[in-house]
Symmetry: C2
Subunit: 555 residues, 2 copies
């Protein structure tokens, strides 16, 4: 329109960097990060991040260079989420459960210029660099992070600093506090690179933009009903989708980041009581850990704690028990490609009058897109037709919006496949309820096809979870001569509890159609990714290795 | 980065239209708008807005055409905030206090194609169109809105519908519910045009973009600590900066819009009790109305009500009394050019232990930029140097960010002046406190310069407000032979209260440096804009007309 103009007064690229800049003024003297007895304020955190950016810049890091980090939820990990983008670079936080071979592969694929490593993972990083040296002459600069909240951190075996390795605090000290931070020219520029956790396929490098990160951070703050100055407990790994975007989101609201190196029930209860935690997040496994905590490890909650869970549907029993303890559970769902949370099962007040198990069934739904995501649909992946909202017809969950990744790094083919038809194809299968809410019916590979019938492993697991002796369960398909596949349950019992395979099977037959009940039950500790997802890939392999069941008729 | 792509799956222009689209699914059966006994749900509101867009499109409205409206806070006014942008057009909501001459001028300046008019203002619109006809052959199409919540609405004198005039409900009915809405190609495109209220100069047309409206809506939701499904009482006129962006913000959170044709204390208390209102906003005059309500008009609050106030600093007494009644007051500040609220006086928990009047002093500060605004500063308008944070040095309040207007319609010169130096110059004067919070020390013209000393009229008013007999006060400069200017107070006393000019002057001298005390006190009802701002321009004129005071020495 005539008379208007786009200029530096009215147009700036969206970036989470702005959250820190603002909080360093508004909340300047309030606590930003706490880790054991170590505490920083927002103005200190900003200064540390600026120094970090300056030091990176000084050592030649330039726009869009990749900086990796291998660390648990410690203050340095938080600072890297701002310091790296403030140098114009791209943060790539690696999963701390990776072995050296995988770390080496990801360093190579990302073309990383730096690797920041927590002292506990130094041996992994060093071995990865050695592998890398065999095929490349350029290896990333290593910076070791000691944990100043732990006196033991310096005496670890791996602690010997060679002269070519830098140490985090000295590195920071070498940076200038008045460094002019490097902002994106364009909000579409990358801020982070997150490798998919690879439970079902080889890792892909998800490129996230400043714009997407900004918008998803605000959406996640709203989804968590997070007011200003929340106290957030870091039980979700920051390397998992940048802590579901709450690394940036907590800065937006000037909250307190309570760091936690090891996620244990005792640690969670202690932090909640000590810091008066208001918000936390975690996979259902984390909730499970909480509700099954021995009484010695528990402490009463100082107030309501809002917990956002995702990564898998929370089983009804887990929900009940969490609410009984005083937690307020919200269920969200998303993928690395959606910057973490993309949907939320928005709770309607009318549902409070429903019976408890009906409530739990609704809460286990993935719901609808959050405020930052434009659109969600469940479509036939071939025809792109929407499925009817009949709670029965399955289709693929698809998204459109500004909180969808820019694409997969150096994999145009995978990017193209993911965006075919103008929607992001999640690979997850689900149904649409008459009220529009979606419900996952399994990751594509988690469906067990038995005698031509699709069996949702989630449904079977949900029943097994409700058995009083069961701590955790995962169900996969086992080859079967007659039926093709039959459900095989891996079950971990609670300490001091007993149940036989026969009992579990009977329990399932009492609560499910017979064909859905497992034919095999294995008792063991379940393998998990560091983000708490049960590694079904491993279980699927195990089930395969058991060999075919020979059955000739229906159970 | 290699492998990435920008496409319809991962990039969509930001627009508040998305809020309605999402809420029509997530909150489909929940109440969206309530007005008397009339109620709509979010899916109904969406359908009505789509029909409205379709009907406009059918009558030839195309991208960036201007559609005006002259109406109080009724459902149609709310619907126009979505229906007009969904036709690709630009909404221009006019101040209902304007006379026909001003309406005619704004219709001409904006090049409006439509004018939607509430039945109560039909005579104003008709007279405006008649004026317009004298100089132009093209006049906007008129659509009359009857108030279905009022049986009297159809029997008004002005209700005779001529055949060339349309009626709102029939107009909607003529639109298609399956109309494909017209989204912006680019988020920079205009969504609304808001004429500045013109307390100090001739109205200018502020052009707002879809991007800015989206971002400011989220920022205002966060600033109000508004969770999902709030109940919002419309005491701020929607024609004022699109209801401080909460027309769109309440849709984002799936809240209930409680409409209110006339803002009275009785109406406010009734609505709060009946609808269990959680949030509302208003100029300090609205708060004043609440605290001075006769006891018959009051009802107990059903719960905490969050009130955001702005437009002028809330006087301490008003704050105390509001809090006593159970309201939780947040102070925000902004201008039409900043889409309404731009700053918020974020309340720190440490301040709760301060004495009441220290708290009120802090709360009267404008604070710092909200989450959607990039930057705020107080600068010397000549040198562009920041003033020191000494709570004393004055400068001009300046902003930068995505929630600053695109510019002034057809006034490149004014746009250029406003953005000179790469910042938006607010024209307001203020100081910066040591903690970074800003405090207005008067709109530029509100400073009284007396014997070379600057007197802040706000400071003088603040003292007068604390006098027990005073309902409202405004202080302007009156010409003075000796001092140049001296403060002249216009005071409205509470019903049944008495105070002499002498008493008021003495009270000020007891609480202020003597030179700041008014030399003239006039008792009268204060003239106000419809947004509750006291019209100082009129008072300044009156003070001038009184003629010069003849004083020869200090009081």
């Amino acid at each position: 329109m005539e008379g208007t103009v786009k200029c530096s007064a009215n147009y700036l690229p969206l970036t989470p960097i702005s959250f820190l800049e603002r909080s360093a003024v508004v909340y300047r003297d309030r606590v930003s990060v706490v880790h054991g007895d170590l505490k920083f304020t927002w103005s200190e955190t900003r200064e540390r991040c600026v120094r970090l950016a300056s030091a990176l810049h000084h050592l030649g890091i330039s726009r869009h260079d990749v900086v990796t980090v291998l660390a648990p939820n410690i203050p340095a990990m938080y600072e890297l989420h701002f310091g790296v983008p403030m140098a114009g670079a791209v943060l790539c936080a690696l999963n701390i459960r990776h072995d050296s071979a995988m770390v080496s592969l990801l360093l190579k694929h990302s073309g990383a210029k730096f690797i920041f490593v927590d002292y506990q993972f130094l041996h992994v990083a060093k071995a990865a660099l050695e592998i890398l040296l065999k095929t490349s002459s350029k290896i990333p600069q290593l910076v070791v992070i000691f944990d100043h909240a732990r006196s033991s951190s310096r005496v670890d075996d791996n602690m010997t600093l060679t002269k070519e390795n830098l140490e985090y605090e000295s590195f920071l000290a070498s940076g200038r506090p008045d460094f002019e931070i490097i902002r994106p020219h364009n909000e579409w520029e990358p801020i982070s690179l997150n490798y998919t956790s690879g439970t079902t396929s080889s890792p892909k490098g998800v490129v996230c933009s400043h714009r997407g990160a900004y918008l998803n951070s605000l959406a996640v703050v709203l989804l968590n009903e997070m007011p200003s100055m929340p106290v957030y407990l870091w039980t979700v790994p920051m390397f998992h989708c940048n802590g579901w975007c709450l690394t940036w989101g907590v800065a937006a609201q000037g909250g307190i980041n309570v760091c936690l190196r090891n996620v244990t029930a005792k640690g969670i209860f202690e932090c909640i009581a000590r810091h008066r935690v208001t918000h936390m997040s975690g996979a259902p496994t984390v909730l499970n850990m909480i509700i099954n905590a021995p009484s010695d490890d528990r402490k009463p909650l100082p107030g309501k704690v809002v917990v956002t869970t995702g990564g898998a549907s929370p089983p009804p029993m887990v929900l009940f028990k969490m609410e009984e303890l005083g937690f307020n559970v919200t269920h969200a769902y998303g993928l690395t490609e959606t910057y973490g949370p993309a949907t939320v099962c928005t709770w309607k007040p009318d549902w409070n009058s429903l019976p408890h198990d009906a409530q739990a069934k609704i809460k286990a739904r993935q719901g609808l897109q959050h405020l930052g995501m434009e659109d969600i649909d469940i479509k036939d992946p071939e025809t792109m037709q929407s499925v009817p909202p009949d709670a029965k017809t399955r289709g693929e969950v698809m998204f459109r919006g500004n909180t969808i990744m820019n694409g997969y790094l150096r994999d145009s083919k995978a990017t193209e496949d993911a965006f075919k038809g103008g929607w992001f194809r999640s690979g997850d299968l689900g149904v649409k309820h008459p009220d529009g809410y979606i419900e996952l019916k399994d990751r594509s590979k988690d469906i067990i096809i038995s005698g031509g019938e699709n069996i949702s492993s989630i449904e079977v697991e949900s029943v097994i979870y409700s058995h009083p002796a069961v701590l955790e369960a995962a169900v996969v398909g086992r080859p079967d001569d007659y039926w093709g596949e039959t459900p095989c349950a891996f079950v971990q019992l609670k300490d001091g509890c007993n149940a036989s395979a026969h009992e579990i099977i009977k329990y399932c037959r009492d609560h499910l159609p017979h064909y859905m009940a497992p034919r095999t039950v294995v008792f063991e500790d379940l393998p998990k990714t560091s983000t708490g997802k049960i590694q079904k890939l491993i279980l699927r392999r195990k089930a395969k290795e058991m060999g075919s069941l020979t059955t000739t008729s229906k159970l």
